[in-house]
């Protein structure tokens, strides 16, 4: 998709989102959007974090294995650095997991939200 197309779609989404949030001024609708927002944030948040962590760990292990294959005597030192690197990379995903858990416990009860969804249609 061209740049103009992307900008157009994003603008349309923004306008629709703004209009929708204006409509959601009512109590039930506001709760509904909160529910959607938190649910989407949790899903995408941990997804993006896991994606980044996976890429980072993959690069780290790839480099370590290549280094060890080329210079087996340095394997121990490379492994040391790799473990330290993996711990640092993994901590990022743990933060994301923590944030997602915090958000999940902010989600309102499901039953009233489902009622609001049914009523909104």
């Amino acid at each position: 998709m061209s740049k103009k197309g992307v900008v157009g779609v994003l603008t349309a989404m923004l306008v629709l989102g703004t209009a929708s949030s204006a409509m959601a001024a009512e109590a039930a609708a506001a709760g509904l959007w909160t529910f959607f927002g938190i649910a989407i944030a949790c899903g995408f948040g941990i997804g993006v974090a896991a994606f980044g962590t996976g890429l980072g760990m993959g690069h780290a292990i790839n480099g370590a294995l290549q280094g060890t294959a080329r210079n087996p005597e340095a394997g121990g030192k490379i492994m040391t650095t790799m473990i330290i690197g993996l711990a640092l990379i993994e901590s990022l995903c743990i933060y994301a997991l923590l944030i997602c858990f915090i958000l999940v416990f902010k989600i309102p009860d499901l039953a009233p939200m489902l009622d609001a969804i049914v009523q909104s249609f």
């Binding site: 121990g76 790799m82 330290i84 711990a87 923590l98 915090i102």
Partner: protein, 133 residues
């Protein structure tokens, strides 16, 4: 620029730094923050230190110094996922109970991160000091 990184010595140093960091963070939390935040820092620090210990244990047991696998591939993968699952369950339990402040928990979970950064800075300083003399 030679970096002498023997894992046993490095791990011992990082472990010591972990405890020192946790002590400083929890002491600062006890003075500045409330009890829930301090408890969060302490529990977060202990959880992440156990996680780091298990991570290094799994990798060290799985590979020899030369990089060849000494354990079975399946056991490494199973241990890795079990560790992550246990970490997730512990975090879920801690947050769902509401005994601790999540921000304090996040600070506590940074213990290993902070100590590894400290370890890196310390090593870098040592190398540059050696080069300068």
């Amino acid at each position: 620029m030679a970096i002498d990184l023997d894992w046993k010595a490095a791990y011992r140093e990082i472990k010591l730094l972990n405890w020192i960091t946790l002590l400083i963070l929890s002491a600062a939390g006890a003075v500045v923050l409330d009890a829930a935040s301090t408890l969060g820092i302490i529990l977060g620090g202990l959880v992440i230190m156990a996680n780091f210990g298990l991570l290094q244990h799994t990798i060290r047991r799985a590979f020899s110094g030369e990089g060849t696998m000494t354990g079975t591939k399946a056991s490494v993968i199973v241990k890795y996922y079990l560790r992550l699952l246990a970490l997730g369950i512990v975090l879920l339990f801690l947050i769902s109970r509401g005994w601790i402040n999540p921000v304090g928990l996040a600070v506590g979970l940074s213990t290993v991160f902070i100590s590894i950064v400290g370890f890196g800075i310390k090593r870098a300083c040592k190398i540059y000091t050696r080069e300068a003399t």
